[in-house]
Amino acid sequence: MCLGVPGRILDVREGDLRYGHVAFGGVVRDVCLEYVPEAGEGDWVIVHVGFAISRIDEAEAARVFSYLEEIGDLGELGRRPDGRTA
């Protein structure tokens, strides 16, 4: 139950509760968007048990790879002379 899955908002319906269709790969589900008032059509969200709990920050998402560049001098220790990873 604790799995959070990233998906993209296809549309938004305003009502008593805010809902929208969210695409997870090829699967589309109706998701409650009440907890992500800042998220709109086209945004990516993390969904837990039918509720979006966060809008994914694209700039922060790239940090996992840029951090690797920042520590690159250490990461290079694991590389072979041909540039492939040991």
């Binding site: 604790c2 799995l3 959070g4 409650c32 039918g50 940090r63 996992v64 590389r79 990873t85």
Partner: protein, 363 residues
């Protein structure tokens, strides 16, 4: 899939593993808190990429696993009552109670239904006005906003035949309990990224400071986990003990304020017993008195419940990172996902089930 596949890139993971090996000068033990992280670590073999001496301990973050036995027995007693429709997330159905589980109850005629969201259970209640619909409200901070919203909506819309059997648990008190144990083996924590997405990071700072233990809020994909481990190792090697955030694409320091507001409106902090671990003060959520008409525990008198755990099962020690599944004599023989003795073998988030599924050995 975007935000999934790129974090499983083999080259990225190998580079992180090399960086960790280059940075670690001594043995460290890092506990991943969340069962989803445990599952990912075992599935992708993250632990096998790490240098010798760097050990991952599997934590208590499987809500299915820590739901107390008496709560399962209570759920079974309520589900057996005539006129009740008992709704639950699917992974609770195989959790063994003292004598049965919800799947067996269903096969014996109880109206037990699996739902994806608590709002689905609310809709079942709306469509079945003559029946009592009970939802099994379990989980950590991640499911609390959804469950709180279902109860709030039930009251707002006057759906009186909807109630919740609440057995919510909170992560920070469990981390404190683990760190305070004389058997504690943890040098640093990978905190659960989605729990912090909801509740923020404020509660973790005093824990990191008091116990001199780094806490890195971490995501669930292999690159996330390896970056989180690297951040832990850097802190440990530098002698720091701070709260850092690896999972900033989803988790913000202040959490999700809207979700926290609704959780606080519907739930209050209560003491909670954790299966396999015991009572932990202020470690759970229960319904506020204003929502008593939707509190299944108060509405259904099921009498006295006496419980009995299988004596051979060591799931409590596994949940605290004290033992690995391999230490259990029943692993893979008397205890399998088909015939589980303990909850850590039932849930896909449980450490024993992850080892069984991906390794077939406990080591």
């Amino acid at each position: 899939m975007r935000y999934v596949d790129e974090y499983r890139d083999a080259d990225v993971c190998r580079r992180y593993a090399a960086a960790i090996t280059a940075r670690a000068t001594r043995a460290w033990r890092i506990m991943e808190v969340c069962g989803g992280q445990t599952h990912s670590i075992v599935r992708f073999g993250i632990d096998a990429l790490l240098p010798p001496g760097l050990e991952l301990l599997h934590g208590p973050g499987c809500p299915v696993c820590v739901t107390p036995l008496e709560m399962i027995d209570r759920a079974l007693a309520i589900a057996a009552k005539p006129g009740v429709i008992f709704c639950s997330f699917g992974d609770m159905l195989r959790v063994p109670g003292t004598r049965s589980d919800l799947f067996c109850a269903k096969s014996e005629g109880a109206d037990v239904r699996i739902v994806y969201s608590p709002l689905d259970a609310l809709e079942i209640a709306r469509q079945n006005q003559g029946r009592e619909v009970v939802f099994f409200g379990v989980g950590f901070e991640t499911t609390a906003p959804a469950n709180a919203m279902a109860v709030r909506e039930a009251r707002r819309r006057g759906i009186c035949n909807f109630s919740m059997l609440v057995s919510h648990v909170l992560v920070p008190p469990a981390l404190s309990a683990i760190l305070s144990s004389p058997r504690c083996r943890v040098d640093a924590f990978l905190a659960a990224g989605h729990v912090c997405t909801v509740m923020g990071m404020d509660e973790y700072r005093p824990i990191a400071a008091r116990h001199r233990t780094p806490i890195v809020v971490t995501g669930f994909e292999p690159a996330d986990l390896l970056q989180g481990i690297h951040m832990c190792v850097v802190q440990l090697e530098e002698g720091r003990a701070e709260v850092e955030n690896q999972y900033a694409r989803s988790a913000r320091p202040e959490g999700n304020r809207e979700a926290m507001r609704v959780v606080a409106e519907v739930f209050r902090v209560v003491p909670r017993k954790w299966r396999g671990i015991g009572d932990i003060p202020e470690s759970g959520l229960g319904l506020r008195p204003e929502y008593a008409q939707h509190d299944a525990e108060a509405l259904f008198n099921v009498g006295t419940i006496s419980t009995e755990e299988p004596s051979v099962c060591i799931s409590g020690l596994v949940l605290q990172g004290i033992e690995k599944p391999s230490a259990c004599p029943a692993f893979g023989t008397r205890c399998t996902p088909e015939t589980p003795l303990g909850a850590t073998m039932v849930s896909s988030e449980g450490a024993c089930a992850a080892y069984y599924r991906y390794r077939r050995t406990g080591s």
